[in-house]
Symmetry: C2
Amino acid sequence: MKKNFIALLSLLISAGAASAQEALWLFAPVESPVVNSDSTVTLSIFAPNASKVAAHGFGMNPLELTRSDNGTWSVTTPKMKPDLYTYSFDVDGVRTIDPANAYTARDISMIFSEVIVPGGNADLYAPRDVPHGTVSKVWYPSPSLDATRRMTVYTPAGYEQNPDRRYPVFYLLHGMGGDEEAWNELGRASIILDNLIASGKAEPMIVVMPNGNANLAAAPGNTSAGMYTPKGEHSIAKFGKFENSVKDIIGYVDSNYRTIPDKAHRAIAGLSMGGGHSWRTSMLMPDTFDYVGLFSAAVRWSGNGVETSNEEISEPLQRQFKNAPKLYWIAIGKDDFLYKLNEDYRSLLDSMNIPYEYHESEGGHTWTNWRDYLVMFTPRLFK
Amino acid sequence: MKKNFIALLSLLISAGAASAQEALWLFAPVESPVVNSDSTVTLSIFAPNASKVAAHGFGMNPLELTRSDNGTWSVTTPKMKPDLYTYSFDVDGVRTIDPANAYTARDISMIFSEVIVPGGNADLYAPRDVPHGTVSKVWYPSPSLDATRRMTVYTPAGYEQNPDRRYPVFYLLHGMGGDEEAWNELGRASIILDNLIASGKAEPMIVVMPNGNANLAAAPGNTSAGMYTPKGEHSIAKFGKFENSVKDIIGYVDSNYRTIPDKAHRAIAGLSMGGGHSWRTSMLMPDTFDYVGLFSAAVRWSGNGVETSNEEISEPLQRQFKNAPKLYWIAIGKDDFLYKLNEDYRSLLDSMNIPYEYHESEGGHTWTNWRDYLVMFTPRLFK
C-alpha cells in the first residue's frame, strides 16, 4: 500500500509525537502584527489569564492592550511613519516578544519583535526583487589587538560574476554595546545597499562591518567565552584601542577582496561610539579615507574616554584637512544627548575654516535616525 | 571642562532618555539560564503577578517553576545529557522566550531560547579558540526553478589564505518547514565543522546549505514576500521539484568556489525531507555523490509526495549502486515516526544486496539526533 507523506505527518500529530518536531505545528492562535493600509499597526496576543498587557516600543509611550471575550488582547497604534520598528509586550510585568511574530532582532542583550511600516525610506529596509549581494561572517587576524576577530562583509551583487572588477570599500562601525551584527540586523545595511545599488542611487561597493569592541573578538555566542549576557560595558574595556586596529582590517580587506586600495575609494562612518571611532581614525590616518560620516557621533573623545581639548586636536585636524576628504558629513538628531558635543565640535571646525556638511534631524539617539543617515550618506560615496 | 564619556552616558540614563537606546541599560532582573556543574540547568523569570509558570522544552514534559517571595520563579531541571537545548516559558498561558537569555533560535515560525549543557558532542556545538571558517549568505541562479535563490555556504579556515588549494564539497539539506538557515543555526553546522576540522577529525571542506523549498527563494524575511508567518506547508508546494535543481547549485558552486568537481569529492546528506531529497537526488544523479547521508530520512517518497513502490525504484537503485557510493549511511532514532519507512527501505536494500551502513539511535525526529548524526557522518567524508 502506498503511503502519502502528508498523511503520515498528520498521523504524527495525532499520535501526540509533536514534541519530536513541535515547531512544525506550533503556531500562535492570533495573527500579529498586522500592518494596516492606513499605516497603523494592530498588535495582538492571546493571554486569557492576564490582567494587564502593554506594548513597549514604536518610539512612543507604552500602549495598553484591550481584552476581548475570547482572551485575545489587542491594540492599534496611531498612524506610524514608515520605518522598521521594534517592540515587546509586557504581560502582567513579564516582558515578552510577540509570540506570533517570527521576526526578531537582538539589541545588545535584549530580543525585540520587528515590524516594518512601508513607505519612504522604509521601502529600502525590506528586500525587493533585485540582485542581492553576499553577506559573510569573516575572521581576520588583528596583530595590533593580538586576536583573530570577526566582521561582517557585504560584497555587492555581481562581485562573483565579474572577477576582474575592483570595488571601493565602505567601513561601517557600530555603537556602544553593539557588535559586527548590529549594522546588518538593526541597521538593515545589506538590504539598504542592495536596494540603493539596484536603483542606481549608490555605486556598487564592498561594506565592511567590524566588531568595534577591542576586548571582544566577535558578537556574543561566537567565541569560547560562551553564552554570556552581553552588556554595554563590554564596549568600554580597552576603549580607544580599536582605532589602532583599523589598519589591520584594511590590510586584510585589501589583501582578500578586489578593492581599489586608495583614499579616493575608501569611506568610514559610524554611529555613536562608532562615530567616535570614525572621527578619530580618519583624523589619525589622514591619507586613508575620502569620505567620513559621523552619525550621532561621540566626537572628540580620546582613547581613554575623556574629551579632548581644542588644543590637542587642532594640529591633527589641520593635518587631516590639508588634503581634505571629499566629504566630511556630520548628522545628529535635535534631541540627541550628544547634540551639544557635536555643536561645540562644529564651532571648532568653523573657527578653523574646515569644510564639512551638516544634517540635523528630528529625534534622538536611535536606529531610526541611523538607518536614515545611512540612506543619505551612501549615495554620496565614490562619485 | 573635559567631559567623561561614561559620565555622560550615566547622565543620559538619569535623564530618563533611556528610550533613546534602551537596550544599553535594559536587563532582566535575574540571571537565566544557569548551567550548574552537575549538568542541571536552573531557569528563572521575574513574574511577580503570575499565578503559574512552566518551562517547555528540554525534550521533556513541562517543568513547573516555583515562586519565591520576591516574585522570581525558578526551577532546576534534572541532570541533562550534554546537548544544545531549546526552551520557552509559559506564563499564565502566554508563551515567551526567557527574557534574561540573549540567545535564541528560530525553528520555522517560533523563537526559542537556547542553552548548551557542555560535555560530549555538545562541546562541538560551542565555539572554541580554533581557526574559524567563513559563513556566507549567497544568491545563485537556478534556471530549473526559474529563480534566484539563497544558500548558506561554509568555507573552511584557510580557504582565503590558500588560493591554490581546492576543496571537496558537502551538500547539507534541511527538513520540512526549515530553510537555508536551519542547519547552521539549530544544527550548529559551521561551529561543528570548525571544531571537527581543527581537531583533525574531519577534512577541510566546503559545506553548502541550500533552501530545499522549491517554491521559496530564501528564508522568511529575505525576499519581497515580506515578513509572513513561515509554516511547514511552505515546504510542500512544488514538492519534488527541488531535486531537479541540485544541478544548478552544483554548477554554481563548482564555478564560484575552488572545488574538486568530481564524485569522489562530493557528499550529500539531509534530515527528514532533506533526507528524502538526498535519497532521491543521489539515486537520480548516480555519478555525482560518493557519500550519501540519510538522517531520519523521508526515503522512498516520489516528487508528488507519494511513496514509491519497490518496482519503481529497483532499477534506478541498481544503476546508482553499479558504481556504488563509498558510503551510504542511514541513521534514525528508535522512536522516529519514519522508523518503519526506513526499516522497509533497508529490507529492500538487503534483498537487492546493496551495501549501506546503518546507525540506530535513541529518541525520535529531533535536532538532538541530527546534530549527532552530523558529528558521526562528517569525519567519514573524503578519506
